[in-house]
Amino acid sequence: MELSRIRNFSIIAHIDHGKTTLSDRILEATHAVSDREMMAQFLDGMDLERERGITIKAHAVSLHYTAKDGHEYLFNLIDTPGHVDFNYEVSRALASCDGALLVVDASQGVEAQTLANAYLAVDEDLEIIPVINKIDLPSAQPEHVVHEIEEVIGLDASGAIFASAKERIGISEILEAIVERLPAPTGDRDAPLKAMIFDSWYDSYRGVVMLVRVIDGRISLKEKVRFMNQGSEHDVENLGIFTPKPLQVKTLEAGEVGFVILGIKDVHEVSIGDTLTHPGRPAAEAFPGFKQIKPMVFAGLYPVDASDYPDLRDALEKLRLNDSSFVFEPETSEALGFGFRCGFLGFLHMEIIQERLEREFNLDLISTAPNVRYQVLNKKGDVVDVENPSKLPPLMEIEEIREPYAAVTVLTRAEYVGNLLKLFEERRGTQTQFHYASKDTVLLKYDVPLNEIIVDFYDRLKTLSRGYASMDYQVEGYRAGDLVKLDILVNTKQVDALSFIVHRSQADPKGRAIATKMKEAIPRQLFEVVIQAALGAKIICRTVVKPLRKNVIAKCYGGDISRKRKLLEKQKEGKKRMKQVGEVQIPQEAFLSILRIQGDQD
């Protein structure tokens, strides 16, 4: 397709503002899918994504649209991951576009994610068409939202389209606006190949599938190509577009979007943002903006029943196959036995993986408290990464502990500002901006230690604002902090898996809260269970689970022999769901205590 007839665009929106429905309408209007196929929201692949209302994997669909000017246009609709942990992936998907539809709910207005993604789009120099969606709702205030877009985001919204994707209102205006107002891609089809990878996943039949935007030149079947950042070379095994069904093509040219298959088996060999070129005639420089993304949040995952270890490993392998940002390696804990230390992009990513492990793979898991990647400057002057609190070097060897900080953006209704300021204060946040974006909307920006927002921050934010605040964050560098390691001892034995790093000012209240929570979660049993929270040799708090006093079958004669055995078997099975620490049994629940304390403190 000639360049002037191509439109590459994304839909950017906050969760639930109608991105998926609008995508479906566009597919429908371009006859990409039949009505029956429309039954399911097409772009959301996984059940879990649908349930959470978020799209984890980006996709690109090529559609043909005949505009009112009588010409046929090629639309490449590029979907973006819709949640806060995937900032970089969003930025690469947007970089593959020339324009974007900014969808804002007519009754909800601008939210933090709208803002964050709109800024990413502006950064990529995209032309933006504001779409005020859900105008059919009784609570819709489209004019007010137009005003808000101008005030809060600073975009000219005078050309905003009022729509209701659900009621099919405004769809043809949107399609025409895409043709008229979004720029066609530029690019030199005769220049050396430059194709930017903005998504990849593993397909069990084809291996790794990559989505690319060809910036310059052309890529063809059977050619040899090279990753400019990572260096390896491969043959193009397959090439095509999604209509949305996959359709093989011989060549993709500058301005076009499609998939490339190079026969790569491991999704981790492909980096999002990398550039493909021809080794014989390479591009002068790679497409800008490439970053090697490293996991920021870590947690130990252990099977409750040690015999499930191989199953857990297989399940993690399967998830990693399709998730280039998820990593894991075997880890042994004295308390929990054999398990894995897993790395995630962020807290939501972690929750999704854990949920899939339990739901799709039916595994009973114990998860340690998540933590960030710390940097420890030792006395010798070396900086070492610490991804597991129990691996923190001895205190006397530590010069300084540094932790990653996040720049957090929150948009909230003004009436909840007080609650949120308190929340940020508790999480050691430093305010960098407080701005009335409109009469009743406040924009807050804080620098917060990342560790403070990975557990129960998002939920607290939602609760404290009755759902009216939204957030976005970006990780921005390390700072030294007065950090200490808090240990938990069960019957004087340190449970390595429960150790965590905490700011000194919070060691005492957190230690107390955990010891109390664990006491509630551990059932009375044969032996006394003494729980201690300790800072080095200093015991902060001690709680005791008194032994049970009676658990006996009173009557046991001929016919009761089998009954008694069955009951013992049942009780034994119950105990197998707990972890043995020394001579006592600790249920999964107790290990989660650490995750539960923060909410209670607020």
């Binding site: 049993q525 044969l526 032996f527 006394e528 032994p547 049970l548 006093r549 009676k550 658990n551 006996v552 079958i553 009173a554 009557k555 046991c556 004669y557 001929g558 016919g559 022999i561 089998s562 008694k564 055995r565 009951l567 013992l568 078997e569 009780q571 034994k572 105990k575 197998k576 043995q580 001579e583």
Partner: protein, 392 residues
């Protein structure tokens, strides 16, 4: 360890499932039969016994008539039944022959008749001497009848007399139980069974508790009651020889010790269990199904469990620890070897916390250990149990 029964002989259990009226807490297999034990029931029992006929006949050194209400049989029928059974088995002259009796079936004539028939031991279902508790248990006989029955039985020459008492009954205060136990301990009994009430699902009492109409004492309160009873009876010369059983010297139930210490038993009647020649099986819990099983013959039935040496060892530990004689250390060492545990390491905390002692190469539970026996056992059994049990 003293041998309480002759391993070469078997114990015979006879289940008579009929009751004049049903008690709400009981989950034994029983049938309401106001007209007494139906004619022809004994003939079926004898027919079933014949399935165990051998030459020379099996030696029997304990017989236990349980129920239901076996005393509903009356002395004549019981005598004839024992005589018939004596034609299949060789019931030794020294055999312990126990009959469970409800207080209201006990009178001078029945006592004399039972003695005449060969019964050597009576187990009288007293349950409680507190009217409110008896009502909760739907027991018909008032306390006075129960006390009179025990005294009458002692006077009529029964040397081995036992009474059943319930603890942990809704509405039963600790004082009530202690009072019942103290008064019974003054009677000429040589055996007392004190059962803390196990609620069995679907029984009327269970339903009443589930509906919130009755409240059970909590575990801590029940534990206090258990310890109080232990204290009272020990002071009065009773040995706490099994979790729920106390005996004066010479008063232990030899028949029941067979169950706990892995002896062979043959069960006759619906729902009766047999542990015989390496198999364990239960009869159907239905008169019709049991009748069919007897008529079709064939013992042991096809679904009988095969008792491997490993299983026998587990049972010696699981059930042996119910008895004050405890379980042999070698059995425990073998059990721990299944998941490479050292006996010293496993047992040390049990001994340190006072749940058990080691004496004469046996592990014996203390009274605290009895109270916690399920926890102690799940602690002792291998982590893989019961999955790792080798298949027969």
């Amino acid at each position: 360890m003293k041998a309480w029964f002759d391993a070469a002989a078997v114990g015979l259990y006879v289940h008579v499932p009929f009751c004049a009226s049903l008690c709400g807490y009981c989950d034994f297999f029983r049938v309401e039969s106001p007209g007494g034990v139906p004619v022809g029931f004994e003939a079926l029992l004898v027919e079933e016994a014949a399935l165990f006929g051998e030459t020379p006949p099996l030696q029997v050194d304990t017989v236990f008539f349980g129920g239901g209400t076996p005393s509903l049989l009356g002395p004549d029928r019981l005598g004839r039944l024992l005589a018939e059974l004596g034609r299949v088995f060789e019931i030794r002259p020294s055999a312990e022959i126990t009959l469970e009796a409800n207080p209201e079936t006990v009178n001078e004539a029945s006592l004399a008749g039972w003695r005449q028939a060969g019964v050597t031991r009576l187990s009288i279902g007293v349950q409680s001497l507190t009217p409110g508790v008896l009502a909760a248990l739907e027991r018909r006989a008032p306390a006075a009848t129960a006390l009179a029955a025990v005294e009458l039985a002692a006077r009529s020459g029964f040397k081995h007399l036992s009474a059943d008492v319930m603890s942990g009954v809704p509405g039963q205060g600790g004082g009530d139980l202690e009072d019942t136990v103290e008064r019974l301990a003054e009677l000429p009994l040589d055996h007392l069974s004190v059962y803390s009430l196990d609620l069995h699902p679907k029984t009327p009492l269970w339903e009443a508790v589930a509906a919130g109409n009755l409240t059970l004492p909590g575990d801590d309160e029940a534990a206090d009651q258990f310890l109080a009873v232990h204290g009272i009876l020990q002071q009065r010369g009773f040995e706490h020889y099994e979790v729920s059983n106390y005996a004066r010297p010479g008063g232990r139930s030899r028949h029941n010790l067979r169950y706990w210490q892995g002896g062979q038993t043959v069960g006759l009647g619906p729902s009766a269990w047999s542990r015989f020649k390496g198999r364990l099986w239960g009869n159907p819990r239905s008169l019709d199904a049991w009748t069919r099983r007897v008529r079709e013959g064939g013992t042991p039935p096809g679904d009988a469990e095969r008792l491997t040496p490993e299983r026998e060892r587990e049972d010696r530990v699981i059930f042996g620890l119910r008895v004050s004689d405890g379980a042999g250390l070698q059995d425990l060492i073998d059990l721990f070897a299944v998941d490479q545990r050292e006996a010293d390491v496993v047992l040390k905390p049990l001994l340190a916390h006072g749940y058990a002692v080691v004496e004469d190469s046996r592990l014996k539970l203390t009274v605290q250990g009895f109270l916690m026996s399920n926890e102690v056992l799940t602690y002792l059994l291998p982590r893989s149990w019961p999955r790792a049990r080798p298949e027969a």
